[in-house]
Symmetry: C2
Subunit: 165 residues, 2 copies
DNA sequence: AACCAGATGATAATTATTATCACCTAGGTG
DNA sequence: CACCTAGGTGATAATAATTATCATCTGGTT
């Protein structure tokens, strides 16, 4: 079997480990360890639901009634920046459409958001053979590769070479 | 080579073919063939940029100065419904986060938007070996499988069995 | 204990998308 | 070919997620 649902049981120990390392990882990323950040990462690691910002907000509010929704949004983005979380969806701020209905996938520049089509015949073959996945009936799929395009890589290199100070 | 950028040259003939079949496909989908819809699919097929609604709006406006932005949004969604276009991003109306940083992918129910993690070790192996892709430097990737969960499939079956009339 | 860069809370601003509704038109019907 | 009507459109308001702003607060270092 090529595709399989992830075993949920592994989540507990994994979350505990991640949580115990969190303070150290914040400091490594140059971030202060605040009660809000702890509460947010805890809520995120404790959820298998791929929650939205407002769900995290609701969960965290129980212990931190004064926390602001803006803080939750900001913190989740920050966590993604230091590699403590990832966004399941949308690298883009608005929907993008594609008229090409031939099966294909996408590379997206995370900086300028340019998109190029790519083909991965072997992946399409794997997916074509899989119409059921646990309790799900497969309808379609799309692979998105996050990348840096030439132009943006060049710009970034310039900035790295001579950081303003 | 497992992954490769799609050759752009193929787009012209492909677009011409799709365009010539468009009216028939609309009727098959029970849709009227309006000048607006024609203009929008034409703009979409003519673009390799995976455009946003507002870009399509700008393009179409040149020939149809009175078209409404709402029509463009509506039409693009309609085109997706009848399989004439697809959304490159965001099945969701808001961002969703994941605390699990172990490489994995997602199945999403297109109805209730429930998400489950899946593992595809073979895909991860393909991707791990690919740090360059044409002019792009690969940073990460995520596969999203669109599906229908058990519950939503059951609900849909009920509706299909007894369509109200 | 004091300091301050960075974090937070409160709120306003922004922006993509959807809803509403009066009017219009594609495409069948007599 | 003129007419009819379900469905489509334009204009605009409403909604809702996210981001910006800014005064205040605090983690962590001195």
């Amino acid at each position: 079997m090529e595709l399989q649902l992830v075993n949920e049981r592994r989540r507990g120990p994994y979350a505990a480990k991640r949580l115990s390392e969190f303070a150290a990882r914040c400091r490594r990323g140059g971030l202060a360890v605040t009660p809000q950040r702890l509460a947010i990462i805890k809520a995120l690691l404790g959820s298998g639901e791929h929650p939205r910002a407002d769900a995290i907000f609701a969960a965290v509010r129980i212990q931190h009634p004064h926390i602001s929704l803006a803080t939750v949004h900001r913190t989740l983005e920050t966590l993604c920046d230091i590699g403590e979380a990832r966004k399941v969806t949308t690298l883009h701020d608005s929907a993008r459409y594609d008229g090409n209905m031939i099966p294909h996938h996408h590379v997206v520049c995370v900086k300028c958001r340019r998109i190029r089509d790519i083909e991965i015949p072997r992946l399409d073959r794997i997916l074509a053979g899989q119409s059921e996945l646990g309790e799900f009936t497969v309808l379609g799929s799309s692979l998105e590769i996050q990348a840096l395009c030439e132009d943006c890589a060049a710009k970034r290199a310039n900035r790295t070479r001579k950081p303003r100070r």
